[in-house]
């Protein structure tokens, strides 16, 4: 199988590799996929209080297209608002990286990964909000 130049570039020079501490309140972590399926992506977003993605990190176990898909989305989300990130579709990744049909699941996983990260960030903020509200009420 021949890879597109962009897949090769992201595979050889992956952007934003690494990890944030999961415990940071402004970090949302999404881990998607399963080892026995051959793909696991960990995507982490650092999001400001006003809901803008400040920074992103990833680690991926998977084929070159999975690595490229996750590397590319970490670039894509930076500076975007949470609402904008939620609108990212896998088809955009497919187009950007020229993924063949057999690799579309890699782009789906990357989309799921950033959404899971945002869900995690939102969940982290919920108890804080509840605490404030509780404080106000008392």
């Amino acid at each position: 199988m021949a890879y597109s130049d962009k897949v090769i570039d992201h595979y050889a020079n992956p952007r934003n590799v690494g990890s944030f501490s999961k415990d940071e309140p402004d970090v949302g972590t999404g881990i998607v996929g399963a080892p026995e399926c051959g793909d696991v992506m960990k995507l982490q977003l650092k999001i400001s209080d006003d809901g803008v993605v400040q920074d992103a990190r990833f680690k991926t176990f998977g084929c070159g297209s999975a690595i490229a898909s996750s590397s590319y989305v970490t670039e894509l989300v930076k500076g975007k608002t949470v609402d904008e990130v939620m609108k990212i579709r896998n088809t955009h990744i497919v187009q950007e990286l020229s993924l063949p049909p057999v690799k579309i699941h890699c782009s789906v996983l990357a989309e799921d990964g950033i959404k899971a990260a945002i869900a995690d960030w939102k969940k982290k903020r919920e108890p804080a909000k509840t605490e404030n509200e509780t404080a106000r009420a008392s």
Binding site: M1, Y3, I8, Y11, A12, P14, V17, S19, I31, V32, G33, A34, P35, E36, C37, G38, D39, V40, M41, K42, K59, T60, F61, G62, C63, G64, A66, I67, V102, H105, V108, L109, D112, A116
Partner: protein
């Protein structure tokens, strides 16, 4: 090493030996006759060349030359052996015994017969090393069994089956024994008499010969094996396989067999030493890597390893030269190996062979098959080891699973989000 890189995928195919090519060349030129033309010297010369090839092939497996039937390759040989026996002996029975780790050429042929209602098939399990137990074969044989088909050496993991013992069982029970010996021929000793083999598939391109020519050994007596042909026509090859003989291919196949026979012991020793060198380099420098297949009873040139936490196709991509992840300015040689990863197949299922051994899917996805052969060198092995170690370390730095494992998280306890 050549301009295209390092070839270590010798189970897929092998480069043609220059001595084989040299032997073939005249048969693309002046000597063009049809081996079946009995009435003129053009035909006689072609026939003589084909018969010499047949003898060279027969000698390698201790058969008689008339017992060699030419085909287009091992897939056709497997089809002819299995379909041919099931069809011819249908009054005797319709049961076939084979194993789960066989090549697709055997498995899919069996499945096609089942689908058509022409045979019932028992697929024997294998042990953790991929070996078939002759006792299981004995137990699986029934009154209705017409054929046992068990491969000699496995194409993915290199495990060598005890076919001599299996042959003893089938002979005792009066059942025909076919072996797909594609990977073992020319590399391991083979004797159809001593091993009680009745049918044997082989192909030239795995032994430094040309593609498109293979053979099926069909025992001519004690017992005489009968087959219903798949390809009908002019009655060539004792009626088992019609079609004008591929004379240049046969000449090359014959020469390839002769070279294997003359150099087998030396070559096996040399290739085994290279394999062990590669094994030792990888296992001494990388943690959490696992050998797939039997530690000793395996093809000299086969090394199949799971590199935990590194997906196989991503490792192939780093090795095959799609990228230059090593320091800028350094020449990166493409390395040709293959993977049991799902991502290299259209089905997205990891290797069914590794699955049959009980290797978990998560490790099957990380497996790489190295196939060493006649033309590999010590320098190539050292270079490949260095590159593999470098790539595995790089990809583990990228792997969330490696990170989690190092943090002491039991990956089996994680609630994964499955697709």
């Amino acid at each position: 090493m050549n301009g295209k890189g390092i070839y270590m995928d010798n189970h897929a195919t092998t480069p043609i030996d220059p001595r084989v090519l040299e032997a073939m060349l005249p048969y693309f030129g002046d000597v063009f006759g049809n081996a079946a033309s009995r009435s003129h010297p053009f035909g006689w010369e072609a026939e003589k060349a084909a018969e010499t090839g047949r003898e060279q092939i027969a000698r390698l497996i201790n058969a008689k030359s008339k017992e060699i039937i030419f085909t287009s390759g091992a897939t056709e040989s497997d089809n002819l052996a299995i379909k041919g026996v099931v069809e011819f002996y249908k009054d005797k029975g319709n049961h076939v015994v084979t194993a789960t780790t066989e090549h697709k050429a055997v498995l899919d042929t069996c499945k096609a017969l089942e689908r058509k209602g022409l045979a019932t098939v028992t697929y024997l399990p294998v042990d953790e090393y991929g070996m078939v137990d002759p006792d299981d074969v004995r137990k699986a044989i029934t009154e209705r069994t017409v054929l046992v088909s068990i491969m000699y050496a496995n194409n993915e993991i290199g495990t060598i089956n005890p076919i001599g013992e299996i042959g003893k069982v089938t002979r005792e029970r009066g059942v025909l024994f076919h072996t797909d010996a594609t990977q073992g021929v020319g590399k391991l000793p083979l004797d159809v008499e001593a091993m009680h083999i009745d049918l044997l598939s082989m192909t030239a391109h795995k032994i430094y010969g040309p593609k498109g020519i293979g053979a099926l050994y069909v025992r001519s007596k004690n017992p005489r094996v009968r087959l219903t042909p798949i390809i009908d026509g002019g009655g060539h090859e004792r009626g088992f396989r019609s079609g004008t003989l591929n004379v240049p291919g046969i000449v090359g196949f014959g020469k390839a067999c002769e070279l294997c026979r003359d150099g087998m012991a030396d070559e096996a020793q040399r290739v085994l030493a290279l394999r062990e060198r590669l094994h030792d380099a990888l296992f001494s420098q990388l943690d959490e890597i696992y050998l797939n297949g039997h530690p000793v009873r395996r093809l000299p040139g086969n090394l199949n390893v799971s590199f935990a936490y590194v997906e196989g196709e991503s490792l192939l991509m780093g090795l095959n030269g799609s990228t230059s992840p090593i320091a800028v300015g350094q020449t990166v040689m493409p390395i040709a190996v293959s993977s049991g990863s799902a991502c290299t197949s259209a089905t997205l299922e990891p290797s069914y062979v590794l699955k049959a051994l009980g290797v978990g899917d998560e490790l099957a996805h990380t497996s790489i098959r190295f196939g060493l052969g006649r033309f590999n060198t010590k320098e190539e092995v050292d270079y490949v080891a260095e590159r593999v170690i470098h790539e595995v370390r790089r990809l583990r730095d990228l792997s969330p699973l490696y990170e989690m494992a190092k943090e002491g998280i039991d990956l089996k306890s994680v609630a994964w989000q499955r697709e």
